[in-house]
């Protein structure tokens, strides 16, 4: 496999972070439990989820965290380091939904020992519903 190797010199404020998409098939819902170990019934039991005000079982936050990480390091490549992610949840993600993550660079700066970018990411569903908004801080190596 080949990977991006994004360098700090090549990033500008306003740059787009390419979109990734994943469909929440039933298999995926099971893989999410395997990946996160989160068996809280909200994530697999429709009846329980409805008793909590949801339409059906909903994917856990850790799934979104994994998707946000992937969106960022697909873009930077493995030499980008995620330092911080802050996310606000806005709508649940149900089986059958297609989840998209995309973003942009909002700030580029250097502090004492790192070259950093601030990013804004938006998680949307197939109908445009915003599922979550996130801000991230990523360090990116300089060229050479």
């Amino acid at each position: 496999m080949s990977f991006n190797r994004l360098c700090w010199e090549d990033v500008s404020e306003g740059d787009s972070i390419p979109k990734i998409s994943l469909k929440l098939t039933r298999d995926r819902m099971v893989m999410i439990i395997c990946g996160t170990r989160d068996i809280f019934p909200l994530h697999h039991d429709d009846e329980f989820a409805r008793s909590m005000g949801y339409k059906a079982a909903a994917a856990p936050i850790a799934f979104l965290q994994g998707l946000l990480e992937r969106c960022l390091t697909d873009w930077t490549g493995p030499t980008g380091k995620i330092r911080r992610i802050s996310l606000t949840l806005m709508a649940p993600n149900y089986q059958g939904d297609t989840i998209n993550v995309a973003g942009k660079v909002t700030r580029k700066y250097a502090d004492s020992d790192n070259h950093k970018v601030d990013c804004e990411l938006t998680v949307t569903k197939q109908d445009g519903t915003v599922s979550a908004r996130a801000q991230a801080v990523v360090t990116i190596p300089t060229r050479g």
Binding site: R37, D38, Q65, L67, R70, P78
Partner: protein, 169 residues
């Protein structure tokens, strides 16, 4: 009750720090791969042994957001979790607002976690809001921070949760 006041019986919990809880398994490649399968994350630091060995880390590392998975309690044999650890804060006297909903989460990642590391954590109860009415229901916003450490007592990361404990109006 006025929206601006927090009952003294809740106020007294603010600032408390739980004891430590250790994850059931050490950081390991199999669980890292299961996480990567979940979101189809091809970052070679997580799943490509050869690439990872040639990297600055000298081997596979864990996706940073797995910090909460490393301390997720085992499913069997049954294990009793202290009620003051994690965002749920189950021992708070909030029987009248039974439904928990995570509103936001902020994580900081300070050090890499590697296969063989043992992750443990403790939770600080940062704040409880006064009773609030929202579109969803009425209840309290509870802010907690998990602090994750490795076996060398190094802080590897933090997660700050804002959870709404509410009842449907």
């Amino acid at each position: 009750m006025e929206a601006s006041e927090l009952p003294a019986e809740l106020q007294k919990y603010i600032g408390r720090m739980s004891g430590f809880v250790e994850g059931p398994d050490e950081v390991n490649k199999a669980m890292i791969r299961h996480w990567c399968e979940m979101v189809e994350d091809a970052n070679p630091l997580y799943i490509d042994e050869r690439y990872a060995e040639s990297s600055e880390y000298g081997g596979i590392i864990s996706p940073p957001a797995m910090q909460s998975t490393w301390v997720y309690p085992r499913w069997w044999p049954p294990v009793e979790m202290p009620s003051d650890v994690g965002p749920a804060q189950l021992d708070l006297p909030l029987e009248n607002v039974p439904i928990p909903a995570v509103i936001s989460l902020t994580e900081e990642y300070l050090l890499p976690m590697r296969p063989g590391d043992r992750i443990r954590y403790r939770t600080k109860l940062d704040n409880i809001s006064p009773l609030k009415k929202t579109r969803t229901g009425e209840g309290y916003f509870i802010t907690t921070t998990n602090y994750y450490y490795n076996q060398r007592d190094e802080l590897v990361g933090t997660s700050q949760y804002v959870l709404f404990r509410y009842r449907i109006r």
